[in-house]
């Protein structure tokens, strides 16, 4: 059965972020990192409380929300800490621009999110107003029934069987789609765990060596994505001295650290 994700607290990390920011109706000097972190942690506690009281589907969803929310929280904290670090950014204009870009992107997303929140409120009002009028959907009296065009005209018993098979059979388009997507999505995570298992022992290696034994191109692609993800999370160093040359990987992370293998990666079409 379908279920609706709904907690009293919030409907998503953007909600929370928006609310936290907009509640800070103070001058900018009072905006403190620790306040935001504290507020986030308080919300986390509340999520966990909600989770404990719920049945399993809600559990999963709350975990999803919590994870996404962590991502936003991390983004914000990252933004702020990087700005607080003394002068390191001065040297690198690219980094500086990167931060600006990141911030503008976040701002744009927050504004878009807020816009649709407003539209949703208007939609609720419309739906509420419309909910008082119950439509008549009774149709003609039975005496007119014989007049109605026979909708089954020209249909055979076979048509009915085929329609039943169509209705109950897997929907071809969707299935083919997922068939292609499933190995990719499942394997990036797997590939990351394989690499986390393998890399600390190897210390330094090349991408060619890592993929030497692989047959399917898709497996190579998946490994490559896993490598990028590990790089993004700061567990490995990458170097490619010349174009199309070997890519060297150096493990710099701590294998005891628990990784979040998704890091916002979604390959959903």
């Amino acid at each position: 059965m379908p279920y609706d994700v709904q907690t009293d607290v919030f409907e998503g990390p953007f909600d929370l972020l928006l609310r936290l920011i907009l509640q800070q109706e103070v001058d900018i000097y009072e905006v403190s990192l620790s306040h935001i972190v504290d507020a986030y942690l308080a919300e986390m506690d509340r999520i966990i409380v909600v989770t404990e009281g719920e049945s399993s589907p809600a559990n999963r969803v709350n975990l999803e929300l919590a994870t996404e929310f962590l991502l936003i929280a991390a983004t914000l904290v990252e933004l702020k800490t990087r700005r607080l670090l003394p002068d390191e950014v001065d040297g690198d204009l690219d980094d500086e621009l990167g931060i600006w870009e990141e911030r503008d992107l976040l701002l744009a997303r927050l504004l878009e999110c807020k816009t649709f929140k407003g539209a949703a409120v208007a939609m609720r009002q419309l739906a509420h107003r419309a909910s008082f009028g119950y439509p008549r959907a009774v149709g003609p009296d039975e005496k007119y029934l014989s007049l109605a065009p026979d909708l089954l005209k020209g249909l055979s018993i076979q048509d009915i069987s085929e329609a039943f098979l169509r209705a109950t059979a897997p929907k071809p388009v969707v299935r083919v789609d997922l068939g292609h997507l499933a190995p990719i999505t499942a394997s990036v995570t797997d590939a990351m765990f394989e690499l986390i298992d393998e890399l600390p022992r190897l210390g330094k290696t090349t991408f060619r060596q890592l993929t030497g034994g692989l047959v399917d191109r898709i497996q190579v692609v998946v490994r490559f994505l896993a490598v990028l993800e590990l790089f993004k999370q700061g567990h490995i160093e990458l170097d490619q001295p010349e174009r199309f040359g070997d890519i060297t990987l150096v493990w710099t992370g701590n294998e005891n650290e628990l990784l979040l293998p998704i890091g916002g990666v979604s390959y959903d079409g």
Partner: protein, 246 residues
């Protein structure tokens, strides 16, 4: 409309008033000349009766109406009679009829030609793909609830099922004994007649049905690509959600 017409209407009303004493409107500010005695039946009860009958797909028993409106069965009967009279007087396109132990709205006989034209020309003449699939599911899985059909088809089937029911191809054959007492549907004899079957047993056995090459190929692709997805489907009957790698 002219003042003369109004005068005529008034003459009728005045005559009725004298003869029957039923126009008990106490003052000109009252909104209705044809009102039941407002001391007995408030206007909103009359409106509520109209509203309930409007949405009812089957005749509503006077006892049910009496309960909903919190008035006596006699009042319900009087109210329906009053409404029928007033609709006739106002030359409305509809009337309230007492059939099969209950009241329901029906089109007035005078409008039959228009209704016939609408039934003939104003509606779809072919079953939509969605309706055909729904009909097929009812045929093979009856008795089956709308929720069950929805879960097979993955979309809401309420309006499609309503159309099929109105056209007399499916009907309510019982109620689910579980919570909610969902209506269970089956196909009608009309369906059997129109499709040319003697009985439901004559529906082709699906295991005999050999899918054509295209279907087989599609299935193969599917089975190769998403064997895990198939497991998932089996457990909850819905499309697999593989969009995020968690």
């Amino acid at each position: 409309m002219t003042a003369e017409d109004d005068a005529e209407v008034f003459q009728v009303l005045a005559a009725q008033l004298e003869n029957e004493g039923s126009l008990s409107t106490p003052s000109p500010s009252d909104s209705e000349l044809h009102e039941l005695d407002p001391n007995v039946v408030p206007a909103d009860v009359r409106a509520a009766l109209e509203a309930i009958l409007l949405v009812a797909s089957d005749p509503v028993a006077p006892t049910v109406l009496a309960q909903l409106l919190e008035v006596s069965v006699e009042t319900v009967d009087a109210l329906c009679e009053y409404l029928t009279d007033s609709y006739a007087q106002e030359e409305r396109g509809f009337t309230i009829n007492r059939v099969a132990g209950g009241y329901r709205y029906q089109t007035s006989d005078a409008q039959a030609p228009y209704v016939e034209r609408f039934v003939l020309e104003g509606q779809a003449t072919r079953l939509s793909a969605a309706a055909l699939e729904t009909l097929a599911i009812v045929a093979y899985k009856q008795p089956v609830s709308r929720a069950q059909i929805s879960s097979i088809r993955g979309v809401n089937v309420d309006s499609v099922a309503r159309t099929l029911q109105q056209r007399g191809y499916i009907e309510e054959v019982g109620r689910d004994s579980g919570p909610g007492n969902a209506a269970m549907y089956g196909t009608t004899t009309r369906f059997l007649e129109r499709i040319g079957l003697d009985s439901l047993r004559d529906l082709p056995n699906l295991s005999d049905f050999v899918p054509d090459a295209e279907v087989v190929e599609t299935l193969e692709v599917v089975l190769r690509g998403a064997s895990e997805a198939a497991e998932f489907r089996d457990t909850d009957g819905s499309a697999p959600d593989l969009s995020s790698p968690t």
